[in-house]
């Protein structure tokens, strides 16, 4: 496979430079002749296109067919219990399109019939209750934009730069507007007993995913959501209903939510003991590391999004987020951290949501070492990977929010590197 990949890359590389030829040095040069894109009549300018209903559920242009989720096969034993990655390098703004939100399943995508789906509340409540989907639609709803990041996002990079592309290093995240019922309202309907200190959401899929969540969080900002970006949840995101646990690791956002038990102690189930605990260098392990630390990444230029236009005006962009608040500021460096520049934030700024930043600069064609550094609304500043390693070692898998470096060479090609 590596051989054929290389062949493909080389072939495509050649193609890219041929195709990009018109743009190279465009900053200074004039067109050498009349542009055929203007001089020739394009087929779409002459013939009629499809009528309405040709595509009752609209799809992206075929020219965008490369904008897809991708999997790293060697990461997991089987695609049924695996993960794929959001193509961050192709996206802009702050909202992730539904079909591009990364997937993480433990027993494949459950194909749930909403008519036979139930949500049960039991345990330390006054009245154990059962809700149909229709019932859930009768509660007051809220709309909120939140990021969902897998705690293992960037987990492959603890020992050093490994995967070449922000899709793979940072793509276990998406940012979506949810419509749902505050979990508080549903719990109050059942009546939480005074000794009810924890909840345990459970999924209806064959992994029957469970996590323990403290009642304070449950009553604060959790949602029982049935819509994402205005339409029903996608099956791979938990259709017909999932839990939203803002700012906290994605594994807790139980999909295909069928039951919530209230208890007086945590359950210490598999995903909060064997997994999602952070092993430190001395053999001890942190548990209940729920909040996602402030983090950012430059999405372009990046290994999958090289500079192809040559020298001159260049747009650098990326995303930043924090599980503890909003992102008022991102700094960017193009010289490996010697000098930093405050980036320009653009787009809505919500708590526990992705933020978009830009830094426009005039590229002189010399190699660049790009980094971004997020500041969150609590005053936390995104650390370097080495600063994290100094505290945690390299075995913790989860919660790697260290600063990412891309090397851009004089041809505009970018690579995942680490620097001193």
């Amino acid at each position: 496979m590596s051989e054929s990949t290389k062949t493909t890359r080389r072939g495509v590389l050649k193609g890219a430079f041929a195709a990009g030829g018109a743009f190279l040095g465009a900053g200074a040069a004039r067109a050498t002749g009349a542009d055929p894109a203007i001089m020739e009549l394009q087929p779409w300018s002459q013939a009629l296109g499809d009528g309405v209903d040709a595509s009752p559920y609209g799809m992206p242009s075929p020219h965008e067919s490369h904008v897809i989720r991708r999997n790293v096969e060697w990461l997991t034993a089987d695609p049924i219990s695996s993960v794929n990655f959001t193509p961050l390098h192709e996206l802009d703004g702050i909202i992730t399109p539904n079909g591009l939100c990364f997937e993480r399943h433990h027993a494949g995508v459950a194909e749930v019939d909403p008519a036979t789906h139930r949500l049960m509340i039991n345990g330390l409540v006054d009245t154990p209750l059962v809700f149909t989907m229709q019932d859930l639609m009768r509660f007051p709803r809220e709309n909120r934009v939140y990021f969902l990041e897998c705690a293992a996002n960037s987990g492959m990079e603890w020992r050093g730069s490994q995967l070449n592309g922000c899709q793979f290093t940072h793509g276990m995240i998406h940012n979506v507007m949810y419509t749902g019922v505050p979990l508080r309202l549903i719990l109050e309907e059942a009546g939480v007993k005074t000794n009810g200190k924890w909840i345990m959401p459970e999924g209806a899929d064959a992994s029957a995913m469970t996590r323990s969540i403290p009642i304070e969080k449950a009553l604060d900002d959790c949602l029982v959501a049935f819509k994402m970006n205005g339409e029903s949840l996608r099956p791979e995101q938990g259709y017909p209903v999932r839990l939203v646990v803002p700012g906290w690791e994605g594994n807790m956002w139980v999909k295909w939510l069928r039951r919530i038990e209230v208890g007086d102690q945590p359950w210490h189930h598999r995903e909060e003991t064997s997994k999602y605990t952070d092993l430190l260098e001395n053999g001890t392990a942190r548990r209940f590391t729920w909040e996602m630390d402030a983090k950012s990444v430059i999405t372009s230029p990046s290994p999958q999004a090289p500079i192809t236009h040559g020298t001159g005006p260049t747009v650098l962009t990326g995303v930043a987020w924090s599980g503890r608040g909003s992102i008022p500021r991102v700094d960017v460096t193009i010289d490996g951290g010697n000098n930093w520049h405050q980036a320009r934030m653009s787009g809505p700024s919500f708590e526990k949501s992705m933020h978009r930043f830009y830094y426009e600069f005039d590229w002189d064609g010399s190699p660049l070492l790009l980094q971004s550094r997020a500041h969150d609304s609590t005053g936390y500043v995104q650390p370097t990977k080495d600063a994290l390693r100094a505290i945690r070692g390299e075995n913790s898998i989860y919660h790697n929010n260290g600063i990412q470096t891309w090397l851009v060479n004089e041809k505009g090609v970018a690579e995942n590197v680490e620097i001193s």
């Binding site: 590389l13 490369h66 154990p128 070449n164 604060d220 208890g263 210490h268 092993l279």
Partner: protein, 349 residues
């Protein structure tokens, strides 16, 4: 830090529960409905069903229902989880986090096997069968002897060695103050050196570097400035140590017929030292099938690619081969084994 406290106080105010009148939505859950779904078990034994199961019964069940992924001894095949062993590895460079070496509570094993295993046939085991498999996993991890029977009566008496190694998240006190210090904006470094490069490792999947419409990644620049990276061999023979380690596990299936390493001899299959990159049918003194000899005459070379095809389904790749192995169901296992084979690159092993 002050900002932290402010944020915390704010959160508390917002989180204060509001007592609201019920809306009267939903219906009471019947006790039998709750019983049907409420199968969770806690460390204190809450939720544990009545029942028992022995190590002896567990071994039969485990071998039958679990070993195809987890290995007969819980050693794991391919990339499937290793369930046993790994003691004293947590402080090493390659910790092996198993039930015995890492998990804090026995109840987690019972709960997880009960709710989610066997993979693809969840909740098919009876309570007694879950007890038996749990007992066998305790035995594989040296926590009980082979005569042991686990039951609802003695369940909570068992504790795991690593229970006390877990502590609550302390990032807010241990890390946040360090990461909230003043930050540098200008002339922050004397010089900058590249210490590691991803492309040298070359583990990014297809499409990672390339997009279909011709935008690309890979460059011709392969000068590498790092000592770590420089030790990695080029091209096809570069070895992914993690993958090779996984391959060593998966290779157990091959060991009954194939030897590898120092002093490896031909058995019912040829010895495999140096197999990656050599001509098919090339081991001296081994009697190959006619099919293999024909393929060798046609110039078949065991590259990682041809090996992968062969190992996927040997008898369809090479009709008439003597190799009785039915093939790896999972491509990842084959890839791991090939990676492992690559570590024995010289003919002598």
């Amino acid at each position: 830090m002050l900002k932290y406290l402010e944020a915390a106080i704010l959160t508390c105010l917002v989180a204060a529960p509001v007592i609201a009148e019920p809306l009267g939505i939903g219906r009471p859950a019947l006790p039998e409905e709750v019983a049907a779904w409420d199968i969770d078990v806690r460390p204190d034994g809450l939720g544990l069903p009545e029942g028992s199961g022995s190590v002896e019964d567990g071994e039969v069940l485990f071998t039958d229902q679990c070993s195809s992924c987890h290995g007969v001894f819980g050693e794991g095949t391919g990339r499937w989880p290793v369930l046993a062993g790994g003691f004293d590895s947590l402080e090493s460079d390659r910790p092996v986090k198993t039930i015995g070496s890492y998990w804090p509570y026995l109840s987690t094993v019972f709960d997880y096997v009960h709710r989610a295993m066997p993979f693809g046939n969840a909740q098919s085991l009876s309570d007694d069968e879950v007890y038996a498999i749990t007992a066998y996993l305790l035995y594989l991890n040296d926590q009980v002897d082979e005569e042991f029977t686990l039951s609802s009566d003695n369940f909570t008496e068992i504790s795991f060695p690593n229970e006390d190694s877990f502590f609550p998240d302390d990032r807010l006190t241990e890390e946040a103050p360090l990461f909230s210090e003043t930050f540098c904006m200008e002339a922050c470094k004397d010089d900058v050196k590249i210490t590691m490069r991803a492309r040298v490792l070359d583990v990014t999947p297809d499409g990672g570097g390339v997009t279909e419409d011709g935008v690309v990644v890979a460059s011709a620049d392969t000068t590498d400035k790092t000592s770590e990276a420089a030790e990695i061999e080029p091209a096809d023979m570069a070895i992914d140590a993690d993958l090779a380690a996984a391959g060593e596990n998966a290779f157990r299936q091959c060991k009954s017929c194939h030897q590898i390493g120092e002093g490896a001899k031909n058995r019912s299959g040829p010895q495999l030292n140096g197999v990656v990159g050599r001509a098919a049918g090339g081991v001296e003194g081994f009697r190959y099938s006619n099919a293999m000899q024909d393929a060798a005459e046609d110039g078949l070379i065991w590259s990682p690619e041809t090996l992968a095809e062969f190992l996927e389904e040997p008898k369809s790749f090479l009709k008439g081969t003597k190799m009785s192995f039915r093939g790896f169901k999972d491509e990842a296992d084959a890839a791991a084994v090939i990676e492992y084979l690559k570590t024995f690159s010289s003919p002598e092993g």
